[in-house]
C-alpha cells in the first residue's frame, strides 16, 4: 500500500530494456565491421566510426553519467514511502487532537484477540492520496472461517469508528499461516 509510482517503475524498466537492446545492436554492428551487408544484402551494416575520445567528449560522458547516477539513487531511496504514524490530526479552535496509529492498532488487536481463527494481527498506517488509511493484516489459521474473520474485523472497525468519531478507511488483508497447526493435526483421534 506504499506510495510507489508503479507506472513510473514500469516505464523505467522498459527504458532500461530499450537502452540495453540499443547497446546490443551497437556492439553487434562493431562485430560485423568490414562487411557491408549480411545474408546476401538482406541487412545492410552501417559504417560506424566512434567519435575520438577527446577530453571534451570524456567530460560530457562523465557529467551525463553523474546526472543519471543521481537520478537513479534518488528513485531507489524514495521507494516504499507512504507509511504514517498519525491516524487523526484535528486542529480545533482551542487546540489540537492527534491520534496515533498505535492506538487504533491496540484497539483492533484487542478486539480480534478472542477470534479463534486469527493467529496474529498486524496493523500499519498509510497515507493514501493524503487520506490516513489503516492496513490490517490478519494471519488466519489453516481452514479458518473467512466470513467469521471478516465480520469480526468489520465489527472491531465500527467500534473504532465510534471511539474516533470518524470513519477511517481500512484495508483488511487476510493471509494464511505458513505452517499448519501441527498440534491440531496430530491430536489423538
Amino acid at each position: 500500500m506504499s506510495r510507489s509510482n508503479r507506472v513510473m517503475n514500469r516505464i523505467i524498466l522498459v527504458l532500461l530494456g530499450i537502452v540495453l537492446l540499443a547497446v546490443a545492436a551497437g556492439v553487434a554492428v562493431v562485430g560485423f565491421e568490414g562487411k557491408t551487408s549480411l545474408f546476401g544484402g538482406a541487412i545492410v551494416v552501417p559504417d560506424v566510426t566512434l567519435p575520438k575520445a577527446t577530453s571534451a567528449v570524456l567530460w560530457i560522458i562523465a557529467a551525463s553519467a553523474a546526472v543519471v547516477v543521481i537520478l537513479a539513487l534518488a528513485w531507489i531511496f524514495t521507494r516504499g514511502r507512504g507509511r504514517t504514524s498519525t491516524l487523526v490530526d484535528l486542529r480545533l479552535a482551542d487546540g489540537e487532537i492527534a491520534v496515533d496509529v498505535d492506538f487504533a492498532a491496540d484497539l483492533l488487536d484487542d478486539a480480534l484477540k478472542g477470534t479463534h481463527d486469527v493467529s496474529a494481527t498486524h496493523v500499519r498506517g498509510y497515507s493514501v492520496r493524503s487520506t490516513p488509511t489503516l492496513e490490517v493484516r490478519v494471519v488466519a489459521r489453516r481452514g479458518a472461517d473467512l466470513r467469521g474473520i471478516i465480520d469480526a474485523v468489520a465489527l472491531a472497525t465500527t467500534r473504532l469508528d465510534l471511539v474516533l468519531e470518524q470513519r477511517i478507511p481500512v484495508l483488511l488483508h487476510v493471509v494464511s499461516a505458513v505452517r499448519p497447526d501441527r498440534a491440531h493435526e496430530n491430536r489423538a483421534r
Partner: protein, 188 residues
C-alpha cells in the same frame, strides 16, 4: 478522495506486485556501471592512468577483437528483454478481492482455499489430512479422499463449497471443482 475510490485503488494495487524490487536491482547495477564509466572518463580526461581500463583502450579492444562482439551483444539483448518482460507482465499476486460495505478486503488464495476446506471437511466428515483445497485466479479445486466404506456425497460437498463462494463472492469470480477420490483410505 472518497472512500470507494480509495478502496478501489488500494485493492487494485494489492493484486499486483509493484516491481519496486526489480527497479531497485536494475538501477543499482546501472549506478555501479555508470560510476565506473564516469571515474575512468575523468581519469583519462585529466591525463591520469586508468583505474582498470581507460575508455579509449576499451573501445580499441573491441575494434581489434570483433569476435567478442556477438557474445556481449547477446548478453545485453537478453538482459534488455528480461527487463521489458518484467515491466509488461501483469505480475499478479495470488489474491482475491471480497466485497464489503465497511472494509476494503483482499485475501490470499491460500486463505480462501482454507475457508472452502473448512466447510467441505465438515460436510464430508473426513479428517484434515484427507482433504485438499487450492484456489487459482478463476477456479477452486477441492479433493476429498473418503474413508473406506463411508461414502461422501459429492453433490452436497459441492453445494456447501458453492455456498461459501456465493457468500464471499470473490473477485475475480471463482468456480468450484469438487472431486471425491475413487479409492478411499483405511482408518478414521
Amino acid at each position: 478522495m472518497n472512500e470507494s475510490k480509495l478502496y478501489r485503488r488500494v485493492q487494485r494495487r494489492s493484486l499486483h506486485r509493484s516491481r519496486s524490487l526489480a527497479v531497485i536491482v536494475a538501477l543499482s547495477i546501472v549506478v555501479l556501471v555508470l560510476v565506473f564509466v564516469a571515474i575512468e572518463s575523468v581519469l583519462e580526461a585529466l591525463g591520469q592512468g586508468p583505474m582498470v581500463v581507460s575508455p579509449t583502450d576499451a573501445t580499441a579492444f573491441l575494434d581489434t577483437n570483433p569476435q567478442v562482439a556477438p557474445s556481449i551483444a547477446a548478453g545485453a539483448a537478453v538482459l534488455g528483454i528480461i527487463l521489458i518482460v518484467i515491466a509488461l507482465a501483469p505480475a499478479r499476486l495470488g489474491r482475491h478481492i471480497i466485497p464489503n460495505e465497511r472494509l476494503a478486503i483482499v485475501v490470499d488464495d491460500s486463505a480462501l482455499a482454507g475457508a472452502l476446506l473448512r466447510e467441505a471437511r465438515t460436510e464430508s466428515r473426513v479428517s484434515d489430512n484427507r482433504i485438499r483445497a487450492s484456489v487459482t485466479r478463476r477456479s477452486a479445486r477441492v479433493s476429498v479422499t473418503p474413508t473406506s466404506g463411508v461414502p461422501v456425497n459429492a453433490g452436497r460437498t459441492k453445494s456447501v463449497v458453492d455456498a461459501v463462494l456465493d457468500d464471499l463472492s470473490p473477485k475475480p469470480g471463482v468456480r468450484a471443482n469438487v472431486t471425491i477420490e475413487k479409492s478411499g483410505a483405511v482408518g478414521s
